[in-house]
């Protein structure tokens, strides 16, 4: 019995392959889970399928050729030739597999380092598989541990606390200027994917109104409708500048659209209330001299990108701490896995029982003071006989089931009945 993971991700496979292998609907996911479950060699499985990765976590028989089985099944089900994708797959076993799962859940393997969505996706995938009864004792334990590892990484490192997208950075900067965006107004000049994304982020953070200015008035109207805002003629935008706190500019104009003079007059009308101007256009829309005016803060696309880059570097530093946490947790978990093997468990049981015996014998000797040496030997032999008789059947049973498919279940039950613990388990329980 062993824990394995198979998968491909943005790091190993191009999108053409990923989209072919992805289990993109709940129905497909269910079918695939059941196909895997039907295999004799596969005991438990969970499938995680997102746009950046497809991963299958498995518990398989120790000596099975699980790699071939899984690859064949994927090939059959998705109708993709095996040689087209198998080189993009990674196969991991035991400690490697567990470590990989921990890292994926903590966002350390994600395209955006430390992003939190993957944990939710994994929880969903696990819930789905559990609902279809394709998970069992080991995967359950593994997944719950994985979730707590990911949570530990999130609370003990600052990996998630640095904004790493342009629009998030824009919102964070706005908060550094205005404290809160509640009740603030924004203006969107021009259009474009990034500018619209930034506008959307501002809206979800409390901006009350967006004025949309565009060279074509129809475009302004349709964008305004999308953002629940107000359209504005392109020629009128300088007069409206005084009403807004945040400006996102993204026009295709060859020269500067926003000049110091325009901003100066806006500032005068708004009695120098601070303004935050975001220039997403290339070539730039906002004259950099505007940044020299008091109470005005101009950020162009490069400035925002610099913030993103330095935040990414911070996340990398935090990722190193996360790796340490994962190593710790990995040790605890593999300790648990090892404890589910017959031999160490029996040794453990023997030594526990010996301890009990020694303690009871010395108690007895205190009470019966006039024992001869012969008496003592007889008493000890008597104790040994009882122990051996009592342990005979459990020992035989354990050796028998040790090789069976349900061994994890019995071994865990055995451990609990006799209250046997191994090093590393204390820590694991706390988590």
């Amino acid at each position: 019995m062993k824990i394995c993971s198979v998968g491909l991700s943005h790091k190993t496979a191009p999108v053409e392959i990923r989209e072919k292998i992805a289990f993109s609907s709940p129905q497909k996911l269910e079918e695939a889970l059941l196909i895997f479950k039907k295999e004799a060699a596969i005991k438990e499985c969970v499938i995680l399928s997102t746009c950046n990765r497809v991963e299958i976590y498995l518990v398989v028989n120790k000596n099975s050729n699980w790699k071939d089985i899984v690859a064949d099944k994927i090939s059959q089900y998705q109708g993709v030739d095996k040689k087209d994708f198998v080189e993009h797959l990674y196969f991991k076993e035991d400690t490697d597999a567990i470590k990989h799962i921990f890292r994926v859940a903590a966002g350390l393997d994600s395209m955006v380092l430390g992003e939190p969505q993957i944990l939710g996706q994994l929880k969903e995938a696990y819930g789905f598989a559990a609902g279809k009864n394709t998970t069992g004792f080991v995967i359950n334990k593994l997944m719950h541990t994985t979730f707590s590892v990911a949570k530990r990484v999130r609370t003990e490192t600052k990996i998630g606390s640095y904004a790493v997208s342009i629009s998030y950075v824009a919102v964070e900067l706005a908060k550094k200027i205005f404290e809160s965006l509640e009740g603030k107004k924004a203006m969107l000049i021009g259009a474009g994917e990034m500018a619209e994304l930034a506008a959307k982020h501002l809206l979800t953070n409390g901006i009350t109104q967006i004025i949309v200015a565009n060279r074509t008035y129809e475009r302004a109207c349709s964008l305004a409708e999308e953002f629940n805002g107000v359209p504005c003629n392109f020629d009128e935008f300088p007069e409206r500048l005084k009403d807004v706190d945040i400006v996102i500019s993204s026009t295709g104009a060859p020269g500067f659209v926003i000049t110091p003079e325009k901003v100066k007059s806006a500032l005068k009308s708004r009695r120098n209330s601070p303004m935050f101007l975001i220039d997403i256009a290339v070539p730039r829309d906002i004259d950099p001299k505007v940044n020299d005016l008091d109470n005005v803060f101009v950020y162009d696309i490069d400035d925002l990108q610099n913030v993103v880059d330095s935040n990414l570097a911070e996340r990398k530093k935090e990722a190193e701490k996360a790796e340490k946490i994962i190593e710790e947790e990995l040790e605890a978990f593999t300790g648990w896995v090892k404890s589910l093997q017959v031999k160490p468990l029996l040794v453990n049981l023997r030594s526990e029982v010996e301890k009990v015996k020694e303690a009871e014998l010395s108690e007895l000797k205190k009470k019966l003071t006039n024992l001869t040496e012969n008496d003592e030997r007889a008493i000890e032999a008597f104790a040994n006989a009882i122990i051996n008789k009592l342990l005979h059947h459990p020992t035989v049973f354990l050796k028998e089931v040790g090789n069976s498919e349900d061994s994890y279940f019995y071994l865990e039950a055995f451990k609990r009945i006799f209250n046997l613990k191994r090093e590393g388990e204390e820590h694991e329980k706390k988590v």
Partner: protein, 273 residues
Amino acid sequence: MILQFTFYPILFFLLCATLFFFFFLFTLQEKWGRIGVSFLGLSLAVSFLYLVAKGIQLGYFPITSKHESLIFFEFLLLLIFFVFYFKFRLLMVGVFLAPLALLLIVISAFMNKETSTVIPILQSFWLPLHVMAAFIGNALFALSFVISFIYLIENFRLKKKKFDELGKYLPSITVLDNINYFCIIYGFPFMTLGIITGAIWAQYAIGSYWNNDPKEVWSLITWILYAALLHLRLITGWKGKKIAIFSILAFSILIFSFIGVTYLFKGYHSFKP
């Protein structure tokens, strides 16, 4: 004796607070800043005890010597800090305020700590009122001074696009500007009240409202500066950086009229009979 016992703890706690705040600034770990705040709290408590003890000993409001008034001022400064701290949690203010309070206490340590009998000229109901009003105003202006410094730092960082861990502990410039405004708009009436009660008191004690004492003249200059600052803010619509720079300048003049004038010029405000 209780006085000896309670003065040095103020110095000690402020020293600890300053050290922990510097440590906070150096490591940028919040816990050190919090320890710094706790030490400021202790200094506030022992300052209060010290003033009470002095007051009992004097049988009068403990502001009769330069030493006492500096401690009284430090006490007010910390009190106002905590009022703001509980609302805004601005650890960074403590970083600047702790050394400022420490400086006041160090200066006061070199002054004559002995209590003498209260000089007759000072004995009046107007004295505590005059000093209280003036000091509350000064403490608010001191906070405005500190906040202005932080504003300039944050403004500089935003303009130059600097981002690092320090930014996490710097409040937004809007909050800084608002606090600055609050300090000045409330500090100004207190200062005005201080000058008026001083004039009334002078009328009682000396028989003249205005005596061209250097302190009076410099206080008037400071008052005019803060009046101008308020005017620029409310009527001209200045905000942010200019207000911050002006506030720093005005407070520098205030410090001069508060401490410098006593040594450079002779007048009855120097408390030397």
